[in-house]
Each structure stands twice: as C-alpha cells, then as structure tokens.
Symmetry: C2
Subunit: 202 residues, 2 copies
C-alpha cells in the first residue's frame, strides 16, 4: 500500500483528482492545499507527495521544502510534481527540492499513477514532453542574487526598499536591475518581471 | 440529456473532471482547452459551457466571449464558471459575459453538477462563498481607460509605447499611471500591476 498525499490548492479539483486516484487498489490517498502541506506531511508521513506546482497562494514558487521537512527523524516522502514545460523555472526548483517524478499536466492522468508507483520504489519518472522544459531550465540567465532583487521588485518594492532589504546601495541595485533587464531581453523592469514570472523563474 | 462542454487548460485535470462529470446519467460531456473553445462551441453546440476562469495561455482574463459567439444563428450555450472569491475582476468579467452559474473552486465538486443542471434550465446559480468576491467586484477602482493603460504596462510596454498604442501624449499616460497608482493604493507602477493582477482586474 502506497500512502499518497495529494497537494493542490483548488478544493474542487483536488477532491475529484483524489477520488480518481483512490480507485487504484494500491494507493491510499489523502489531500491538502499547499498551506497545510507541511503539517500533513509531519502528521501522516506519506510515502509519496504528489504536488501541483501551481499554487494559488503565491503567484510564484510553491513552498516545495515544506513537503520534505529535514527534521522528522524518518525518511522524507518521495516527491512527484505536476508541471508544465512552459515554466522551466518551476521544474528547476522541483529538481533542487529532490523531486523524483515529473508529470506533464498536458498528458494523460494515468501518467500520474505510474509516476507515484515509480517514485514509491525510489525510481525517477520524467514525462518525455517535459524534456524541452528541462533544457530551458538549465538556461536561466539570472544569478541567485539577481533573482532575489527581481523577486523583491515583483513584490512591489522600490529601489530603495530593495537596497534596504539586501543591505546594498541604491546604485548597486540599479546595476543589478540593468543587468537583469539586459539578460532577460526585456524592454524595462516591468517587462523583466513579466518575462521571469512567465518562465517560472520567480 | 444536457450537452456540456468543459473548458479547462490542463489536460490531466480536465480529463479527470470530465470523467467524473460523465458519471451523471443526464450529462453528455465533451472537453477542450481554452484555445479551441470557440471552434468547439460552434461545432458541438453544447447546452452548457462549464469553464475554469484560470487559463494558462494568458496570465489574465480568459476569452469568455469565445464561449458565446453571437453569430451562430442559434441560442448561445449557457455559461457556468469555476471561480475563486480572491479574483473579483474575473467574476466581473464572467458576469459581463452573461454567465448564469458561479461555482467556487474551494467548494465541493457536486456543486458544479448542480450549477450545470440549473444553468441548463436557464436559472442562476451562485455559490454563497463567492458573495464577498462579488462585493469586491463592484468596487474595482479603475476606469476602462486606466485598465487599458495598465494592461499595456503589464505587458512590458514603456510610457512612450503605451502613448503610441492609445493615441495619447506621454504626459497623459504619466497622469493615468499616477492616478492608477494612487487609486490602487500601490507604491509604484510595478506594485499597481501586481495588485491588479492579484485581484483579477487584469
């Protein structure tokens, strides 16, 4: 029996998807929105977390680290993510979080069942159609520091506020912004945010 | 028999949701992503379109008008939308498009079935939990012109580009941007875009 925790923010879709997974005789499925996921992982100790990489709470990156808390004293759950090839930044974050399974949202739902079973065995599962997304994920042109600057800007912070948060001078933040705009091929700061969010880097 | 066209962008979720709806003996369910919806409405002539207001193709507002083309020569399908109370702008757009049913994504999936049956009878169906969203939808502080300006800005256009697109002077666009920033309670232009997208106004 594989204990699965399904993580998805919209209750209606999550309920239907969980019910669909429960038809499989070897899966025992619980479900939760992202904001309760950490607590449920600690309490239920699932074998596999199957998580949708889109989360309604944040426009950006879901809290993947919550699914594999380091201090539980037992092996963390295997991670399967539902993803799209059009947001390579999210694929990269999932890979950094140690995900074993990568299921394309544009594929058939049976692929999710297969990914869960493979991950439960400790095996990798990657939908072919996500390959191009992974290729682009390797090509994120921004450094971690630049991503931090842009993330604050996307949250509405001014140059001075970003400088204050990161302990930099205003001029340094302006230099980062110019580099970000150039490297993303954007027309301006707003455009750089739009491009980066669209790619799933933020 | 009610002919239903389910409109949702992610194939995996759409398949599972369509299969779940097909268990109802009075529903005949087809499904499509948003970008094919217009053609499917013309070809299949569904009684009801049940559409998720989030669409992956655009970050913003889905093409609701595609679901009720005016020139088909027969009555357009009744419209049911899957929505969240946190994006009142999308509720407003759905109301403007003539939607009869409003189902909260945070609710139970059985509500969707009820909404479809009610809409097929020409009756309104609104989840109570969306009430606050409708209240906020009435309070969008921006005019249509200001929304047009902000939409172009969110797409990465500069002041000069916005001025060119809308046949305005740069100074007028700057005045609009200042009004938008003030009216949305934003700190700056980026913040105004963030707030407006979060509310579903853009």
């Amino acid at each position: 029996m594989i204990r699965v925790l399904l993580v998805h923010d919209a209750c209606l879709v999550r309920s239907v998807l969980a019910e669909w997974l429960r038809r499989e005789p070897d899966l025992r499925v619980d479900d939760t929105p992202w904001h309760n996921a950490r607590g449920r992982v600690r309490a239920d100790r699932p074998d596999v977390c199957a998580a949708d990489l889109d989360s309604s709470g944040t426009h950006g990156v879901p809290p993947l680290a919550d699914l594999r808390p380091p201090d539980t004293g037992n092996p963390p759950p295997r991670l399967v993510v539902l993803a799209g090839a059009n947001r390579p930044g999210l694929l990269k974050r999932a890979a950094e979080a140690g995900a074993l399974g990568y299921v394309d949202k544009e594929g058939a739902p049976e692929r999710l069942v297969e990914a869960i079973r493979r991950a439960a065995e400790g095996e990798r599962f990657v939908d072919d159609s996500l390959g191009f997304g992974f290729l682009r994920a390797a090509e994120i042109p921004l450094t971690r520091r630049e991503l931090s600057v842009l993330e604050l800007a996307a949250g509405g912070a001014s140059i001075a506020e970003i400088a204050g948060s990161l302990h930099l001078s205003n001029g340094t933040v302006r230099n980062y912004m110019a580099a970000i705009t150039r490297k993303t091929g954007a027309r301006n700061r707003v455009d750089a945010i739009r491009i980066s969010q669209g790619e799933g880097w933020l």
